[in-house]
Amino acid sequence: MTMRILIVEDEPTSLRVEASILQKDGYEISTATDVRHAMTVLENNPHVDLIVLDIMMPKVDGLQFLRYLKSTIRYSKIPVIMCTALHDISSVAKSLEHGAIDYIVKPVEATVFKAKVAKALERGIGSVLIVCEDKVEMGILVRTIDREGFRCISCAHDEDVWNILESQKIAIVVAELLLPGISGFELLVRIKEKYPKLPVVLVADSHSERAREEIIAAGADSYLVKPFTNTDITRRIASLVK
């Protein structure tokens, strides 16, 4: 999956340079020339893997926007790199205090810029992989988890799970116990064999103490029984991917 980066920059030459450099590296780029425009981009598609944010902009500046992003659950997990002019280095300290992951001094130097972007993306938390056959349930899970600012990837079959785990950064797996072809339990065992540190949450239709014990013994990090609230699942996920 191509990583998506939003660049917020009011100065057109810098914006063109930054966008061109990253596009050539294979990233999907969205651009915004002010904060209001950036908000529209995020509202239309909140799945942004990184934001490159200019500090000094008219009306709402980058620092104010950073504070908004970090205090809004839906956007708070998106890493942000701040862009600043050399003489505005005091704003950098404030940006880092308010949750920016890194900063770049303009004019950007392509090699430094690319390296900082790659590093920031590596430090991103990754996506939540939801393995569920029922499309309605999957939709509810995706919507619930997505609202908490996690990027979700979903699939119904175990062969898709392996492809996704090999090609993408996954922070946690949420899997139904009942799946076609392979049980959630078997999937858990295989995931833990190959990716022992990857948290797995199994979701069961009904409670069975014996099943719960077996699942936890097999390495599940959490076990949820339906019906559960949105808060139940999002809290478990948040605590496991910290």
Partner: protein, 111 residues
């Protein structure tokens, strides 16, 4: 300090001469508008607009390796930030002269 530091500009664009050529051509097209924004904000005695318009022009100039011109833009930006607009006209004149000299210098590169 160079009118046009092409080495720095090429570093900025990762050695992509085609991209740099395009950016320079766009700057040639847009520089009058950018200068006008600074000129008008000075005429209106609007310190905040002096700061933003000079900052914008500085960003473009610095990205393109126009170090001499960008220094004058930065001076104007700081004057706007500090709300000290007395006698900024001479600084703007220098900015305008240096920007025009930069545009003449890059004409060959951008063609």
């Amino acid at each position: 300090m160079l009118v046009f530091d092409s080495v720095q500009a090429l570093k900025t664009v990762d050695g992509d001469t085609k991209l740099l050529g395009n950016l320079l051509r766009l700057f040639v097209e847009e520089h009058e508008q950018l200068l006008s924004a600074v000129r008008e904000s000075i005429a209106a005695n609007d310190a905040e607009q002096v700061m933003f318009s000079a900052h914008r022009l500085k960003g473009a100039l610095r990205t393109l390796g126009a170090n001499r011109a960008s220094d004058f833009a930065e001076r104007l930006e700081l004057r706007g930030r500090e709300r000290q607009l007395d006698n900024v006209q001479s600084c703007f004149d220098s900015l305008e002269n240096e920007t025009r000299q930069f545009v003449r210098t890059i004409a060959d590169f951008s063609e």
